[in-house]
Amino acid sequence: MSDFSLLYKKYNSVSNLTNDLNNSVITLKRRRVSTIKANNEKHPKLAVTEDEVAKANSLLLAILSLLDSFYKEQDTKNELYELMDNAMFQNQILKNVIFKSDITNTLVKLKSNKDLTEKDLINIDKFISILDNEAAVLFRKLRTSRG
C-alpha cells in the first residue's frame, strides 16, 4: 500500500527516456568531433562505430516519434503523459510552436536516414533538459513519499 511503487515506476520511465536520448546525442556528437584530427589524436577513444550510430539514430527516431504522436493526441498510454504536470514540458515542448516545427523536421531527417545538424542536437538537448528536470522532481518525491 505504497505511493513509493508508483512513483518509482514513473521515475524509472522518465529516467530511461532521458538516458536513451542523452546517450544517443552523445554518440552523434562523438562521431562529429572525432572527425577533427586534433580531437582524435588527443582522445582516440572518442570514435564510435557505425553500429553505435545506427542504434543512436534508431532510439532517437523511436523517442521523437513518441513526442510527435503526443503532439497529435495526448494519449494516456503514451509514456510522455507522465510529464503532463510539468510546467516546462507544457510551455517549452507542447505549446512552443517553433520547437514543435523543429522537432518535426528532425524527425523527417531521421526517417530518411539523413545526418542530424548541430541545431537538431541542440533541440534534442533542450528536451533532455526538461526530462532530466522531471526525473529530478520525481526522485525528490520518491524520497518523501514512501508509505
Binding site: 542523452n22 568531433v33 588527443k42 582522445h43 498510454k77 508509505g147
Partner: protein
C-alpha cells in the same frame, strides 16, 4: 565548466568506492550473502563503469558535451542515492528482525508455491511510511519494531502482490485492463452524446488513465492479500482505512490508489469467490456498520468510477489466473490442515476480536512459537 564536471565525476567515483569497500569488509548473514550483496555490488559496478568510461573516452574534456555530461551525472547520482538508500541501508541494517522476516517470507513463498526467490524484508521503514515494496530493489520495507506484531502482517502479502504483478507482467488482470479501458472510452462517448460531458468527462478521462496507471495494480495486490490470507487481509485493510482515513474519506482516490470503499468491495468479492462465506458475512457486517452515514460524503460522480461489474471481472480473471498458475490460496491451505502463516494471521485477528484481554499474551506466544520453528531465540 569541464573541470567542475570532472570534479563531480571524481567525487561520485570516490563515494561509490567507499561504500563498495564498506560492503566488502562486512560479515554478511547467509540470507543476503550471495544474491543481494552480489546484485548490490553489481549495481554499483554498473554506475561506476559508466562514470569511468566517460572519463576514459575524453567527452569530459570537450565543451559541446558539457550539458550531456551533466545530465549523465545527474542520473547516475540519483541511481547512486537510490542504491545507497534502498539496498546499502538494508544491508547495514540487516539484523535480528530482518533474519526473522526473511524466514517468514520464505515460508510464505513456500506455502503458496511462489516459484521465485523471496525478496529481502527490511525494517528500514516507520509507521508513517508503513509497508512499501520496490521490485527493482528486491526489497519489502516494514516499520521498525514490526517483528513484535501480527495484525499488520497481512499487508506484507499486498507488497508481495507488487512483486508478483511485476513478475507476471500484469497478466493476472490483462483482459480486465482492456475491458476497463473500453468501458471508460464508451462512457466518455456516452456523456458527450447525452450532453453531460461538462459534468463528467474530465472525471472519466482521469479515471481511464488512473485505472491503467496504478489502480488496477493496487486492486490486484489487494486480491493477492485476500487470496492468500482470507479474512485477515480484510480486517487489516479495515484497520488501516479506519485509523488512516476514517469514514469521511473512503470515497477519495489518489494518483496511486483507488478509493477505500472500492478496495473493500473488491476484497469482499474475493472472499466470496474463495468460498469463505462465513468470513465474508462477518467482514461485510462490520463494513456495513462502518458505511452507515457515509452516503453524504459520496461525490456525485463516484458511481461512475468503480462499477461492480468491472470489480467482479477483475476478481474472476485474477482467481482463474492464480489457480492456473498453481498458487495456493488460503482456503486450500486451510483445508489441507497446513499450519500456515495465513492461518496464524486469521487466528490472531479472531483472538484479538473475541478475546482482546488475552491478546497481548497470545501474540507474544504465537510469535515465539514461530521463532522457535525457525530456530530463533524468544523475544
Amino acid at each position: 565548466m569541464n573541470n567542475f564536471i570532472k570534479a563531480l565525476y571524481a567525487d561520485l567515483l570516490h563515494r561509490i568506492d567507499v561504500v563498495v569497500s564498506d560492503i566488502k569488509s562486512m560479515e554478511h548473514h547467509q540470507d543476503i550473502k550471495d544474491r543481494f550483496i552480489a546484485d548490490t555490488l553489481n549495481q554499483f559496478a554498473l554506475i561506476r563503469n559508466e562514470l569511468q568510461s566517460a572519463l576514459d573516452t575524453g567527452v569530459l574534456e570537450i565543451d559541446i558535451f558539457s550539458g550531456n555530461n551533466l545530465f549523465r551525472f545527474n542520473r547516475v547520482h540519483r541511481e547512486f542515492k537510490a542504491i545507497h538508500s534502498y539496498r546499502y541501508l538494508a544491508i547495514k541494517n540487516y539484523k535480528e528482525p530482518e533474519i526473522f522476516f526473511y524466514q517468514v517470507i520464505s515460508q510464505i513463498y513456500s506455502e503458496h508455491r511462489i516459484s521465485a526467490l523471496p525478496p529481502i524484508v527490511s525494517t528500514i521503514s516507520n509507521h508513517d511510511y508503513y509497508y512499501w515494496a520496490v521490485p527493482y530493489f528486491e526489497i519489502i520495507a516494514l516499520p521498525s519494531g514490526e517483528e513484535h506484531s501480527l495484525l499488520n502482517l497481512p499487508d506484507m502479502y499486498h507488497e508481495i502482490g507488487h512483486l508478483l504483478h511485476s513478475m507476471f507482467g500484469g497478466k493476472s488482470c490483462e483482459v480486465s485492463a482492456s475491458v476497463i479501458d473500453k468501458h471508460f472510452a464508451k462512457e466518455i462517448v456516452r456523456v458527450i452524446d447525452d450532453g453531460t460531458a461538462i459534468h463528467f468527462q474530465e472525471t472519466l478521462e482521469l479515471a481511464k488513465y488512473l485505472w491503467q496507471a496504478s489502480w488496477l495494480e493496487e486492486f490486484s495486490c489487494d486480491l493477492v492479500g485476500t487470496y492468500m490470507t482470507g479474512a485477515s487481509y480484510a480486517w487489516t485493510n479495515l484497520k488501516l482505512l479506519s485509523t488512516g482515513h476514517g469514514s469521511t474519506k473512503i470515497f477519495e482516490y489518489s494518483q496511486s490508489h483507488p478509493a477505500d470503499e472500492a478496495r473493500m468491495r473488491i476484497i469482499i468479492l474475493m472472499l466470496e469467490k474463495l468460498g469463505l462465506t462465513n468470513d465474508k458475512t462477518r467482514v461485510e457486517t462490520a463494513w456495513k456498520v462502518f458505511l452507515k452515514d457515509t452516503e453524504v460524503f459520496k461525490p456525485t460522480d463516484y458511481a461512475l468510477l468503480y462499477p461492480q461489474k468491472l470489480l467482479q471481472h477483475i476478481v474472476d480473471e485474477f482467481f482463474a489466473f492464480y489457480q492456473n498458475a498453481d498458487l495456493a490460496s488460503h482456503p486450500e491451505l486451510l483445508h489441507k490442515g497446513v499450519n500456515s502463516i495465513s492461518c496464524l494471521l486469521n487466528n490472531a485477528w479472531d483472538t484479538a476480536q473475541t478475546n482482546p484481554g488475552n491478546y497481548f499474551n497470545y501474540e507474544i506466544d504465537s510469535i515465539n512459537q514461530l521463532r522457535a520453528a525457525f530456530g530463533l531465540a524468544k523475544i
